[in-house]
């Protein structure tokens, strides 16, 4: 293709090939008042892709609560949301998916996911302090899953370890629905002085526009468009759409950006992620209500002969677009010179809202910035949706159709060696969890990862949660549970839930049943976020996580991953999940419910795939969390651990393992024993309390109107339940720790 063809008018056929619709093509002609050329059409195709424009989700995303008392930047305003954490500090945090690239090239796909999310944080002027990740894979017995898992974990590790920010939490979940489409969601959080935020904006006619960081290559061209379609057998042809990461460049870029943030020369800065130079220049210009003139010949490139549209759409990593005040060029260049990074002026800010891109002395594209961006001219669609067929089957489930197990010990062992419940040690030991010397959970395990704020009384807590099986079972309740579980984890660790970021992984939005899942999830998220006063600070939507299997479209479980941030007001009062003392009494706080719906036990041990979401009542959950907060604030309990996957039995085992404590407990005979031990009814927490504090605890719980059940005592080396010995805790711990690794051999 020659430059000339790119500058001649493009037709509808080309538009369709680039993933635009006929309507969208006509709209572009209307905006420009003429036919677009190929370069311009390419710009629209990426900017209006699902990935950049949120065209099929924004109508619903707008319904989520965005404002909270501590919000400094709301969702969509900046690269990431910003929360006031007091003492003049703010926390920026965000989660993002890198599913499509990881499905093709797990190592680079995952690595660049980590790079991208960290850049979103430090572009704002915040120094990243913690990373988390949420991973979903298919059947662990398949060779493809093993390849994907090993590649993704190594990719996250190699990038994040070198970059030097600790991984403090995460989740890994396996189900056949992810066989072709793994999900790789990476989260990063950073801390900054609240008044030093760098905005993703551009204004001031004549101010210079710089590209900084890595050189631009041909990687990742049309990556955003690739992420906006289903995975098919042709997807390997899209391999060039996967970017390649360089964590060393990222580390240098971080340090240079931090130095830049300390100056007063900066107008705006934005990371180059999806759609590279195009997206950053358009979004910054649209936000600042100005234009830009950019000379693509000045962009440092990795190879000669790159075409203008390739430079514009390249998704080469570790680059930023920076606008500084005129006259301050030398100061900017000095900082980047120190860190041996490219820093090249490629244009300047202009009046009006037009962006002009020049190459080889000619104008190659001229587009109004505002027409390209979300909230501006990008299309917005309302999609139709209808209740999924399977939903009725789920609703019809009756617990009485399942016999109680004959061998409880066999169920217990099935669960603690199940890949979804087994220790994820094989995974997390490949991540540096201690660099930065802020991880307070290493030696004192907690339900949510705790990050020290050195020199302050406070700490931050973070968690990522989503049991996608629950969301599949019932999108609305399942997603409400995901938020509630995240909040419960924060609360059990001694924190106060503050805000969330979300990563919405779904199938094809043009499938009405998939869209029904999406709408349900948003409704559930909304009600839970409103209840816990945790606004949504941002995140991303990843549709098209589906593939053709035996002639049918198979979407992944709807997986709205919730990343939550909480503030620990007093780090003296962090609460561990681990039993602390022999003889402490064990209580179940929360209601015993005759429920096994959507539990790992029902799904994988009993083999029942259709059931509703587990028992959940938002008001009951809220009351429980208020009570737990009170117990921890008053230092009444010695440990608190949320009952989650695998139910109460697994919660007891997990509380016993860190310090090697067995337990002796009885079950509550008001419900089925399998429901009590292995059911996953929500709003239940296991605490341990010393005998001299138990009266105080019971009185507090009564005051809060929360049910409790005295189960027994911490101690011994065995797991004794109703007098039956479930084995040595040390043996269960050993089996739990090696299970995942054994699957991977």
């Amino acid at each position: 293709m020659s430059t000339t063809t790119e500058q001649s008018a493009a037709d509808l056929k080309t538009a369709l090939e680039l993933g635009l619709t006929e309507d969208e093509f006509n709209k572009i002609k209307e905006i420009l008042g003429r036919d677009p050329n190929f370069t311009e059409l390419s710009i629209y195709s990426v900017m209006w892709s699902e990935h950049c424009s949120y065209k099929n989700s924004i109508v619903w995303l707008k319904k989520l609560p965005k404002d909270g008392p501590h919000m400094l930047a709301e969702a969509g305003e900046e690269n990431a949301g910003l929360v006031d954490i007091g003492d003049g500090l703010a926390c920026a945090f965000k989660i993002e998916s890198h599913n499509h690239p990881s499905a093709l090239e797990p190592y680079q796909g995952a690595a660049t996911g980590v790079g991208g999310i960290n850049r979103d944080i430090f572009t704002m002027g915040a120094r990243p302090v913690a990373q988390l990740n949420s991973l979903r894979f298919g059947d662990i017995k398949s060779d493809r899953t093993k390849w994907l898992l090993k590649g993704v974990v190594k990719g996250i590790g190699d990038y994040g370890n070198s970059f030097g920010i600790p991984v403090i939490g995460g989740e890994v979940f396996f189900d056949e629905c992810y066989n072709t489409n793994p999900l790789v969601n990476a989260m990063s959080a950073g801390i900054m002085d609240a008044d030093k935020m760098i905005s993703a904006t551009s204004h001031g006619v004549g101010n210079p526009v710089y590209i900084v960081g890595s050189s631009t290559g041909k990687d990742g061209i049309h990556g955003a468009a690739f992420a906006s379609k289903d995975i098919t057998e042709d997807s390997m042809d899209d391999l060039p759409a996967v970017q390649v990461g360089d964590p060393f460049q990222e580390k240098l870029l971080l340090e240079a950006s931090m130095e830049l943030a300390d100056t007063d020369i900066i107008i705006g800065m934005q990371d180059m992620g999806a759609a590279g130079i195009t997206c950053s220049s358009c979004e910054m210009s649209a936000k600042g209500e100005h234009g830009m003139i950019i000379d693509l010949d000045k962009v440092p490139t990795r190879q000669d002969g790159m075409l203008p549209f390739e430079i514009l759409l390249s998704e080469s990593q570790e680059r930023m677009l920076v606008v500084v005040k005129k006259g301050k060029e030398a100061e900017l260049e000095r900082i980047f010179e120190k860190w041996d990074l490219n820093c090249k002026q490629i244009g300047e800010v202009t009046a009006g809202g037009m962006i002009e891109y020049h190459a080889n002395g000619e104008l190659v594209a001229k587009v109004p910035a505002e027409s390209l961006v979300l909230g501006g001219g990008a299309p917005v669609y309302e999609r139709e949706y209808k209740e999924a067929e399977y939903y009725k089957l789920n609703k019809a489930f009756d617990i009485n159709s399942v016999d109680q197990p004959k061998d409880y010990k066999a169920v217990a062992k099935h669960l603690y060696t199940h890949p979804n419940i087994a220790s994820k040690k094989w995974v997390y030991e490949q991540y540096d969890s201690m660099v930065g010397t802020v991880n307070m959970s290493t030696n004192y395990p907690t339900d949510a990862g705790i990050v020290n704020i050195k020199g302050s009384k406070k700490a931050l807590s973070f968690t990522v949660d989503c049991n996608a099986r629950y969301v599949y079972a019932d999108p609305e309740e399942g997603c409400a549970i995901a938020v509630a579980e995240a909040a419960r984890n924060i609360v059990c660790s001694g924190g106060e839930p503050s805000a969330i970021t979300n990563c919405l992984n779904f199938g094809n939005p043009y499938n009405p049943e998939v869209y029904w899942q999406f709408v349900g999830a948003i409704k559930g998220m909304k009600k839970s976020c409103e209840k816990f006063k945790t606004p949504v600070t941002g995140g991303n939507v990843s549709f098209y996580n589906q593939s053709q299997q035996e002639g049918k479209d198979v979407p992944v479980f709807p997986t709205p991953t919730i990343g939550m941030m909480g503030i620990v007001p007093d780090k003296e009062k962090i609460c561990t999940l681990a039993f602390q003392n022999e003889g402490d009494e064990i209580y179940l706080i929360g209601k015993s419910v005759n429920d096994i719906s959507s539990s790992e036990y029902l799904y994988s041990y009993c083999g029942v795939k259709n059931s509703p979401a587990p028992h959940f009542d938002l008001d009951e959950e809220f009351k429980l969390q208020e009570a737990i907060k009170d117990l921890i604030a008053k230092s009444v309990v010695n440990s608190a651990h949320d009952c989650a996957d695998g139910g109460l039995f697994i919660a007891l085992l997990e509380a016993g393992m860190p310090n090697g404590f067995g337990f002796e407990v009885k079950t509550d005979d008001s419900v089925r024993k399998d429901a009590f031990l292995f059911g996953e009814a929500q709003s239940r927490v296991v605490v341990s309390v010393s005998a001299d504090k138990k009266a105080e605890m019971e009185a507090l719980l009564q005051k809060h109107g929360v049910e409790f059940f005295n189960m027994g005592k911490v101690g011994g080396s065995q797991m004794l339940i109703d007098g039956e010995n479930f084995g040595e805790l040390a043996d269960a711990k050993a089996a739990n720790e090696v299970a995942l690794e054994n699957y991977l051999k």
């Binding site: 190594k154 590790g157 190699d158 370890n161 070198s162 970059f163 030097g164 360089d246 964590p247 060393f248 460049q249 580390k251 240098l252 120190k338 860190w339 041996d340 030991e429 490949q430 991540y431 540096d432 969890s433 201690m434 660099v435 930065g436 010397t437 991880n439 307070m440 290493t442 030696n443 004192y444 020290n452 050195k454 020199g455 780090k571």
Partner: protein
């Protein structure tokens, strides 16, 4: 004592080390930049952990050619104290200031966890104050930490008490199971013959802040302070 902590491009434990020395141990610390040719009159140089130059080519290999390494070599040759932790240890081995080398872990994976160590002897600054029967719980975080040296070198460093720490189990037994990376003879750290240059893979600075619930690393760092009068 005046400490200098070098920042190479890609160092990521430099600020952790500065925090521990300055805030927790209340020592004078200056930050040194790899491009300078000035050690700023420090008494003790620390090469921190991280991924200098991305660990491209081979870990520590490029950092060895950073401008400031010329001064570090001269300083060490004159008897100045130099400590390399993790990537810093790798750089010191690359520079020839320490014997041996660090290969990829035997299991071929990066590994980050708490491990147990004990002092091999009390002959040098960095283990002089550490009781031989005390087991220390110290984190490691590396992909290339398998200590290797020729048989001859190994014999020599053992004979000269140049092995400063070895990996062990919770009870202090030096066993194969307690070796996290396949290091020869469970070697976690060594010093030079003169006893003024030290390197170790474990990170004492990550086990030094009471707020993180483990201060075993202070035992190692305080050994330095106790042995050298202020």
């Amino acid at each position: 004592m005046k400490f200098g902590v070098i920042t190479f491009p890609g160092s990521n434990c430099d600020q952790d080390m500065v925090y521990v020395l300055e805030t927790i141990l209340e020592q004078e610390v200056v930050q040194l930049w790899h491009k300078d040719h000035d050690l700023k009159g420090v008494d003790f140089v620390v090469l921190p952990g991280g991924f200098s130059y991305g660990d491209y080519l081979r870990s520590g290999a490029i950092a060895n050619y950073s401008p400031l390494m010329k001064e570090v070599r001269e300083f060490a040759e004159k008897g100045g104290f130099v400590l390399g932790i993790c990537n810093g240890f790798q750089i010191l081995c690359e520079s020839g200031l320490l014997p041996g080398t660090l290969l990829h872990n035997d299991h071929q994976k990066f590994t980050c966890k708490n491990v147990f160590l004990k002092a091999d002897n009390n002959s040098s600054l960095i283990n002089r104050e550490v009781p031989l029967d005390e087991v220390l719980n110290i984190p490691i975080a590396h992909a290339e930490g398998r200590y290797y040296a020729s048989e001859e070198t190994l014999k020599e460093i053992n004979a000269n008490n140049q092995v400063i720490y070895r990996y062990c189990d919770a009870d202090g037994n030096v066993t194969a199971d307690s070796n996290p990376n396949g290091s020869l003879e469970n070697i976690a750290g060594v010093c030079n013959k003169a006893g003024n240059v030290f390197g170790m893979m474990p990170h004492p600075e990550r086990a030094a802040d009471p707020e993180l619930g483990n201060t075993d690393g202070l035992t190692i760092l305080k050994s330095i302070l106790a042995a050298v009068p202020a």
